[in-house]
Subunit: 660 residues, 2 copies
């Protein structure tokens, strides 16, 4: 079969690039697939809401599948619309009407091959939400049946229940219920023996999960009718630790019901979500028999009845999860390839789908902007990136030379643009203004962050200026996750931009990431060693104690300590008292007094509580970690800044309520 | 009874200000309430997540109710936590544990009086979400039963199902199920004859609504046991047209089941949502027998058995809805008091709850900044507002004098700070930078928005500078809804700020609003007539055709036309073809060629599609209209900018898919 899969790879190259596949390739493939039992898995990257673009892509793969005589071809969840379309369909119902119009025509393309295509289905019923999340099964040029999603995730980045109604029926429903809003059981829940479900519908096995979210298990329902195989159409973004769970669960289900399981996932990024693809098939004993690449469009063919398939290697880090992380650790190595591909795909698709071509960013010689520059160069091409060193009086010579060396190594465009004049003018103007204001508001700070912020904002002024002056260009916000948690980023300064590539990467991981980039990119060691060795600091202020630029860890706390707090909150829901009562990794190799620890913890909660506003105006950024502060993933009211994360004692409560 | 209600108002003043109520007031009230059958409605303004603050407030009213011997006292939905707490409880479960601890102590306060208190209830069960949205019924110092919310809204500003599990049981459940996660029917669904439900639970009457969202109707379930009265604990924000619906629905339900209906609503603002309060009681024939004030904390007492209550006047505009608007109109007059109070409460609570005291804003002499200045002065006090006129070369003398006159009329602080030096320095710096960049990227725009944006960003630099230099001060973003729809606002410029008061007010409404403010505020005509009469324009660029500052309507389209498109999309889900085929109000009194109309429509969709990013970074702002672009209310992927809002013809689709 090696030959077959090599030929398929060739065909796939033509397909992905929208070229005609040569006849001899068709012939070679058909010889094998003619035996029957071969199923195509179209791991596609849709543009959300661009139905024409998605429809043409779907049509291309159906035609190909027809031509080589596949038994079926399967597409991801809501493939025709792209996932997630969110509230758009409630405000602009025309795009749902459009996706139905295109769907009806697409159905004509599926003749001998069964095509399974996801879309958004309008509901005419006067009860419930206005849409279903559905797939249609097409054959003989017509729609043969409909499967509707029953389990609607509403957590983290998912909001399905906001805009779609859950189906009360599992499996195939009659074709004549299309767009009526009815849920009706067909004689059989299967089509051609397939037990078809949509994404979350297969994530509720009560034996596999310790905690389940929903009352019904659609897979269990389908299994009652003894399907030949399960098919799941999915749109599941990558996150730290998710692949292990997915692999174990799907393998468990195949084995439990002794049926093959075909899982087809969306690939590509939509705003903050990077979908890894990694579609796969398990045999009836739970063994993996096929797996697509991650982070790439691919057309895969499998024969689930004969266990024929090709397993492409997993991106490192996706499988990290095989030994799931239970405690905080600085051992990031195994997750860095996934991190890299997740972000690169995120940047690339954001640019492509919004029509941007170029990026401009400040190069401070520090770790954040350095890693961002590497990522941008790799994602959109070095010629499309402009790095600007914008030194102030505080900027060291080394920072300037590190920035220049980095740009040189990467081959990106580079220039230096000092902000001295901007600072001088702004400072003079503001000092005049402050004196006037002070006459009315007498409590002016004796020490403020104004000088720091003038620098950061002057730089943003330059970057946004370039974005206004050159077509299809946006500035990059370089804030990292650790600093965003602490609100340690300037509004209209370094946290401002059209896109924020590393907003979900904590600082200690960025250090490991920089080393990984130096080792694993084609050009080795693009990042100057000095950038990785120096202690992070924004170079916005002088530390009066040292007379040198202030080190961020002195202003905040050791990043290692900070990142552990964040990790334990996000992954373990731990809280103030848990932190007090347990040792941090940092404490294992550093002496930390109890008072010091308390001070850091108090600082953490105080700063986090007032950072909520900054989270709310964060530019689009890719979710990387298991949990994030990305507003598509986590929402906390800004006015909740007075939460007492320490809790109150019973005595205190009794006294406060006047009960004693 | 007039006496009783006058005395109650006196008592309420003490209560709201956290003062001890004098004994003689207690005695006067008790004389009436001692007859029995009197129920207290505590329309409170919680701080979300600040459980101690909310608990003390709740305790205060329970003690008061006990002392005057009320039959019961009712609080809004999740009163102890504040609504909505959103994802916070999933990440920081400690605050749920805390709200239970406080709740257990609060129970001791309710002795003879029945207290009905909302909170977030943890669930131990391994199936479903981790929390319920519940109220407990307390009496004799203990918890007597629990009511759990069944219908979980997930649309517009609501996301209940993200974090809470729906109850499968209606009405009272046994006290010993507290925090277990079980839903169990009690012998009776009623407590003391009360049929209690939570917010959305009463919004699903199949006879009243043409379209219902849920399969069950908890009110109908409760009615089967013949309650003495219905009680609904609610947290329902104001929006255009909502009060009519609410009034009609609650009145309908009372009448349908021939039972009084007590509806207690949260008041105050939480981030983007302004809750109007307006708690009320209907008699068994659907007649209104009591109504609290809107937009104020209030403790109301009612005897629903004897139809004794006081009806406070409704804020104008809340009742506008009594003749629900079916088409777009410029007749805003009737909705302006509601608009005013909604925004004022929104600003005031955002400042109070976040700990801000002061605001600084640019005064351009234009309508947007003018209206913002008036609102800020009224919301936080004129002494806490600083208006800065920041003229450039393009700024007219009139703009400067209008700004100064406005500030003088309002009594706010005022100064002028020219941005000439900022513009000069920035322009020189940027021009140097552009020349360098142009060597690599040759396609520099021949005409760009850079000069316009430098002005807007220089101004923002001044405002954020003041906010950095003076305690508890934030800048105000003055963008209006019409211009945000068109992306006609500068990133890091006028659209940047700590709060955006009028981001949900369209421009044509702002004109009416300005006139209303001049007529209805204590100081008449604070807004100079010239500001209202002049045509809006950002004064950022000169129109080459007129040699005068560019008028916004020339850059965009007539505001009246624009606002009608927005209104029809948001309220009627209309689309391109609907607009083509129907007459706009603007067309009734202006000649508009077909080509012109097409051009405006195309411009609208083109600009809106690329404004999505700006919507995503909009500062917190108060939702005012029936629908908005506020990200707490409406979410559309930024990468959906290629949606075809016009739709495709069948022929086009057939051809595109190669079906012909």
């Amino acid at each position: 079969m090696q030959d077959f899969f090599n030929t398929l790879e060739l065909a796939d190259k033509y397909l992905v690039n929208d070229k005609d596949v040569p006849e001899d390739i068709f012939n070679k493939l058909s010889k094998v697939t003619a035996e029957g039992g071969y199923i195509g898995m179209a791991q596609i990257n849709p543009i959300v809401g661009d139905i024409e673009y998605n429809a043409k892509k779907i049509a291309k793969y159906i035609k190909f599948a027809e031509k080589i005589g596949l038994e079926a071809v399967v597409f991801p969840e809501t493939a025709l619309m792209g996932y997630p379309i969110e509230d758009t369909i409630d405000r602009h119902p025309i795009i749902v009407a459009e996706n139905v119009k295109w769907l009806m025509q697409i159905a004509k393309l599926a003749k001998n091959t069964i095509a399974i295509v996801g879309f958004i289905e309008p509901r005419l019923k006067k009860q419930g939400k206005k849409y279903f999340n559905s797939v249609v099964v097409m054959q003989n040029g017509e729609i043969k049946g409909i499967v509707r999603k029953s389990l609607l995730p509403t957590y983290s980045e998912f909001n399905d229940y906001r805009y779609v109604e859950p189906s009360s029926v599992t499996g195939i429903q009659p074709a004549d219920t299309l767009c009526t809003g009815e849920c009706i059981k067909s004689e059989s829940s299967l089509y051609n023996g397939y037990g078809i479900s949509i994404c979350e519908d297969c994530w509720n096995d009560g034996e596999f999960f310790e905690r389940t979210l929903y009352k019904i298990d659609p897979t269990e329902e389908l299994a009652k009718e003894q399907p030949k195989l399960f098919i799941n159409c999915s749109a599941s973004p990558t996150r730290a630790k998710k692949e292990q769970l997915k692999h174990n669960m799907l393998s468990f289900i195949s084995k439990k019901y002794k049926k093959p399981f075909i899982y087809v996932n969306q690939v590509g990024a939509i705003d903050n979500m990077s979908f890894d693809g990694t579609s796969r098939v398990y045999g009836k004993d739970g063994e993996l028999i096929a797996r697509a690449k991650s982070f790439e469009e691919q057309f895969l063919i499998v024969n689930p009845y004969k266990n024929i398939g090709k397993i492409y290697p997993l991106t490192n880090g996706l499988d990290k999860s095989l030994t799931e992380q239970k405690v905080f650790t600085l051992e990031y190595e195994s997750d860095l390839e996934r991190t890299y591909k997740t972000i690169i795909q995120g940047i690339r698709d954001y640019f492509k789908k919004c029509g941007f071509k170029r990026a401009v960013l400040g190069l401070s010689g520090g770790l954040d902007s350095t890693v961002c520059a590497v990522l941008m160069a790799d994602a959109i091409g070095k010629e499309n990136v402009f790095g600007i060193s914008m030194p102030s009086n505080i900027t060291s010579k080394e920072s300037k030379s590190d920035a220049e060396l980095l740009a040189h190594n990467l081959g990106i465009n580079f220039t230096e643009a000092p902000i001295k004049d901007m600072i001088n003018t702004t400072t003079v103007c503001l000092n005049n203004l402050f004196s006037t204001v002070e006459k009315k508001w007498q409590d002016r700070y004796t020490k403020s962050f104004t000088p720091d912020n003038i620098q950061a904002r002057s730089r943003a002024m330059f970057l946004w200026g370039i974005s206004n002056e050159f077509p299809s260009c946006i500035p990059i916000a370089t804030s990292d996750k650790s600093e965003l948690y602490m609100g340690y980023a300037t509004i209209n300064g370094d946290m401002s931009g059209g896109f924020a590539p590393i907003a979900d990467v904590p600082k200690t991981k960025l250090f490991a990431f920089a080393r990984w980039l130096n080792k694993n990119r084609e050009e080795k060691n693009a990042i100057p060693e000095a950038v990785i060795l120096k202690k992070p600091g924004a170079e916005l202020a002088i530390d009066p104690k040292t007379n040198k630029p202030l080190i961020a860890e002195d202003a905040l706390m050791p990043y290692e300590f900070l990142d552990e707090i964040i990790w334990r909150i996000e992954n373990k829901n731990e809280t103030y008292n848990d932190f007090i009562n347990t040792e941090f990794v940092y404490e294992k190799h550093n002496e930390v007094t109890f008072e010091q620890k308390i001070e850091w913890l108090n600082k953490f909660y105080r700063r986090m509580s007032t950072a909520l506003y900054k989270w709310s105006i964060l530019p689009p950024s890719i979710i990387v970690e298991a949990r994030s502060i990305n507003k598509c993933d986590y929402r906390q009211p800004i006015t909740s800044s007075r939460i007492n994360y320490k809790g109150a004692s019973e005595e205190y409560i009794i006294e406060s309520l006047g009960l004693n």
